[in-house]
């Protein structure tokens, strides 16, 4: 029930693509009173996913959007069959009838397949859904050639996908050059050179005439209008889209001559209870196929619906769209922005820069006084895209030729407020500035969270950072990286100081580079840095004084002052005998026992003076420290893998053990988790780990920077089909680069998000050695592996260190009498303690 006990209003959304998903999320986020009950009907069997990233699906990426909350009803795999506008109901393919107060059509579009001979032959596909990609992948297996009809943005993506499936592939484009809707002729020509360099054939300027079958009755070649032909056992059509407007037609709503449901600037159809958003909508005479405008429409309708439910009115309208695009096609940067086709009739002048050696083409279009940027095209180097796009329609800060040569550093503070910074989510410079001020934001992830800027394609993130820095500086907030009052440096800077100057103690560091005597912030940081650089046992000499209590007692402090103990169980593999030892130890010391999420066993309730006795038993049975107490590698979880599993394709347990033994004890800015799955079913949940590995038929796929916890993040696919050695080399470098450069307590997920250049940059560093540091990183990891020694084994062998494990320095044998337990489900639990509020 909604506010005032009036019945809730029912919103029905037909379609579950990106636009529908955004609408529901935007509505839910702001409809705190629960005025709308939402039902989504989607014909695809899966819930909404990121269609923009479709091609990465074949590389193993998970495209699913986060699911809606439980209060949203989603019927997937069900097609909306009819709309009864008089009764306000939708009937689905399964006979379900859903009543609506408001109906939103987000039915998207269908790929356009021109009416050519042979279009229905086996082996002919379109490229829009995950199901399409599954079908293409299955069909391509064992075949050798492919062709894509359509050389637009999506067509080139499809060609890349075919090449990724091992097909020799070509692109057929009727226009004289590639990407004719975004690029001018010079840009198209430069892109063509890049694509041909990648081994793909480009046929532009000639229409195709028909598809011909081979002896097996399946498609075998594309025949061109000039009589030539191209061998292709797999053909993908990507020749434009047609709005899915059939439901609207059938219920008498006006549609455009060339398709598209006619809506006004508020996205409302001729029926005030029915709206249309996304690629099915004809708005201002245009159908938009980019995700940015589709999101904008979703936001407009969410705003209108919320106002309506609250009895008010909204003036939100769709204000047209910025069709600027930047993408990386097969490793080639391609971007267009503003009006890339402005000509002399608009009084436009062009400034062009071409570097045929490096494969760079840049063209800017400016007003005839050379002061205003109208648009442009970038191929081969699109680094200045974010800045240039922001200047479209505004006055340039310098002469246009200077802008071409990278003298384009936007100060951030100079950009006009109305400038759209993030075109995917339609976020202006002004709204970013306001969010920074209103919510006292101080870092880029917080700005992304708060404004959504930079959360889709990410190309505007460098610009967001500049805006943030400019705002903070203007507000007199020094963009301070100092970790605490004792050091004016960031963790990464401290790491370099310690490494380069060969510093081996906190005293040396704080006396030469800091002030005071440190605190609970900087001391553990320095302890971790010293440990990462290999300075012996963490309780050695002065290092002992730097450790947090967990590291100091090599156990995890619990709420009542007792500690928990986690022996290492590499890969989660354990013999019955060792399992029995753990059970006996827990029983003999009266410890609470629980299985962890990382396939280990945690023993709770140990007093300080019990820790050495407990560990003596464990070490004697062959166990070693699990480092559950450290900011270090915790566990490498695994599924049972190909040894036992009917579906496994690699030995995931063996690899997990190998990785866990390699990285055990490695101190890092935060804890590290990992997992290895033996096949694509992903039972080990590797994509939620700092580094996750999923077996393929040919080797291993490596995923980086995932996270569970408070802000879950799916790991990014970093590299595919790696050999064992390649896998380990990349992980070595990833970990060491992270350890060197991350902030204090920064997990790999937010570290990667804060890296300018993101995943591509990380690949350049780790795979291409763009910084020239790989040899150093490799050597650092080799030193770690060689120097590893079990911290508990070493501690037991050292009477001096053991003497610290007492509750009372003046009564070493005496247990702490303040610690007491109750019994719950046959095990101990801490007694409640009295605390001040």
């Amino acid at each position: 029930m909604g506010a005032g006990n009036k019945p809730d209003k029912s919103l029905v959304v037909i379609g579950h693509g990106p636009a529908a998903h955004r609408l529901v999320e935007a509505l839910r986020a702001r409809d705190t009173a629960g005025a709308w009950t939402v039902t989504v009907i989607g014909e695809e069997t899966r819930t909404a996913y990121d269609r923009v990233a479709l091609t990465t699906y074949l590389e193993g990426a998970d495209l699913a959007y986060p699911p809606h909350g439980p209060e949203v009803t989603v019927h997937n795999g069900e097609r909306a069959a009819a709309i009864d506008r008089a009764a306000r109901t939708v009937t689905t393919s399964s006979g379900r009838v859903v009543r609506y107060d408001a109906l939103v059509l987000a039915t998207g579009s269908a790929p356009f397949v021109p009416p050519v001979e042979g279009r229905d032959l086996p082996g002919v596909f379109v490229y829009r859904t995950i199901d399409d990609l599954d079908a293409i992948r299955d069909y391509a297996d064992g075949r050798e050639t492919g062709a894509v009809v359509g050389g637009g943005l999506l067509g080139l993506e499809a060609a890349r996908a075919l090449q990724g499936l091992g097909l020799r592939s070509g692109v057929v484009e009727v226009a004289p050059w590639l990407m004719p809707r975004q690029l001018d002729e010079g840009g198209g020509a430069m892109l063509r050179r890049h694509i041909e360099d990648l081994g793909m054939a480009v046929h532009a300027g000639t229409p195709m005439s028909r598809l011909e079958a081979g002896e097996d009755g399946a498609v075998a070649r594309v025949v061109m209008a000039d009589g030539t032909d191209i061998g292709a056992e797999v053909v993908v059509f990507s020749a434009g889209i047609r709005p899915r407007d059939e439901l609207a037609r059938d219920c008498g709503l006006p549609v455009g001559e060339r398709g598209g449901i006619v809506v006004d600037e508020a996205c409302r159809t001729a029926d005030p209870a029915i709206w249309a958003i996304g690629e099915c909508a004809l708005i201002g005479g245009a159908v938009y196929g980019l995700v940015g405008p589709c999101f904008s429409m979703a936001e407009v309708v969410a705003d209108r619906l919320l106002a309506e439910a609250a009895g008010g009115s909204s003036t939100a309208v769709f204000e047209g769209a910025d069709l600027s695009t930047k993408l990386k096609l097969m490793g080639v940067d391609v971007a267009s922005f503003g009006d890339p086709f402005a000509g002399p009739e608009q009084g436009a002048l062009g400034v062009t820069y071409t570097d045929p050696v490096a494969g760079i083409y840049k063209r800017l279009l400016v007003s005839d006084d050379a002061k205003t940027l109208l648009g442009g095209v970038l191929v081969g180097d699109a680094e200045s895209y974010g800045t240039l796009r922001a200047y479209v329609g505004g006055s340039l800060p310098g002469p246009p030729e200077q802008m071409l040569f990278g003298g384009t550093e936007a100060a951030g503070g100079d950009l006009p407020g109305a400038t759209v910074i993030c075109s995917c989510n339609n976020v202006s410079a002004e709204s970013i500035r306001c969010s920074i001020a209103d919510h006292s934001l101080t870092d880029v992830p917080a700005v992304k969270d708060c404004t959504r800027a930079g959360t889709s394609c990410g190309s505007c993130v460098p610009l967001v950072k500049k805006l943030l820095d400019a705002e903070l500086t203007a507000a007199g907030i020094e963009v301070s990286k100092a970790i605490c009052e004792h050091f004016a440096y960031s963790r990464a800077e401290l790491f370099d100081i310690v490494r380069v100057r060969g510093i081996t103690s906190f005293t040396q560091l704080v006396e030469q580079h800091g002030t005071g005597r440190g605190c609970d912030i900087c001391k553990p940081v320095v302890a971790s840095i010293l440990a990462s650089l290999g300075n012996g046992h963490i309780l050695e000499g002065e290092q002992a004084a730097l450790q947090d209590t967990n590291d100091h007692f090599l156990a995890n402090l619990q709420k009542n002052g007792t500690y928990s103990v986690v022996p290492r169980i590499p890969g989660g593999e354990i013999t019955p005998d060792r399992l029995i030892v753990i059970g006996e130890v827990a029983r003999d010391f009266g410890l609470y026992t629980k299985i962890t999420g990382g396939q280990r066993i945690d023993l709770f309730g140990a007093r300080v003076e019990q820790l050495p006795e407990i560990w003596k038993r464990l070490v004697d049975a062959g166990f070693e420290s699990g480092h559950a107490y450290g900011k270090s590698l915790r566990t490498v979880k695994s599924c049972v893998g190909s040894t036992w599993c009917r579906f496994g394709v690699q030995d995931s347990v063996g690899m997990a053990i190998r990785l866990e033994l390699r990285y055990r004890g490695l101190r890092a800015p935060h804890k590290l988790k990992s997992a290895v799955s033996g096949c694509a079913r992903e039972c080990a949940e590797a994509q939620s780990k700092d580094f996750g590995i999923i077996a393929t038929e040919k080797g291993w796929n490596l995923y980086l920077a995932g996270n569970g916890g408070m802000r879950p993040r799916h790991a990014d696919l970093f590299a595919t089909d790696l050999t064992d050695d390649e896998l380990i080399r990349y992980i070595d470098r990833f970990l060491m680069f992270y350890i060197r450069t991350a902030d204090r307590l920064q997990r790999t997920a937010s570290w990667l998000e804060s890296l300018e250049g993101g995943l591509d940059y990380l690949r350049e560093v780790i795979v291409d050695d763009s910084l020239g540091i790989c040899a150093e990183l490799d050597a650092a990891m080799e030193r770690h592996v060689a120097a590893y020694s079990d911290e508990w084994g070493d501690t037991l062998a050292d009477p001096d260190r053991l003497s610290r494990f007492v509750s009372f320095v003046n009564a070493p044998q005496e247990p702490d009498p303040s610690i007491g337990f109750a019994i719950e489900r046959e095990q101990i639990k801490p007694l409640p303690l009295e605390v001040i509020k």
């Binding site: 609970d520 002065e542 002992a544 209590t549 001040i836």
Partner: protein, 132 residues
Amino acid sequence: MTTTPEATLVRDAASPAREARWFDVCAYDDLIPERGACAMVEGTQVALFRAFDGALYALANLDPFSGAHVLSRGILGTRGGAPTVASPMYKQVFDLRTGTCLDDPRVAVPTHLIRRTAGDRVEVALSDGHGQ
């Protein structure tokens, strides 16, 4: 309360009249520089700290924010010029000289007297209301 390494007793202003009753708790060298330890004195848990400069401090071991007896296991340091310990549980910082919580000035933990003897022993005397 503080003593210098030369073991000059600074008397607690709040209890001037009564002669302090000292308890031997450990050798000075049993205390790790810049760390704490706990002593049981007449049924009271006393957190002992040996600061970087060698100075000794004693606070109650009970962390008022968690209710657990853990202050002796915190990390020592400085804030401004003040010597501090941070509770290992929820990281509130206390001034070692006064017991005042620097993150929440309404809260203070009791302080005790501590000294280093000529024989390099450490002795503690409980302040009023704690133990004897």
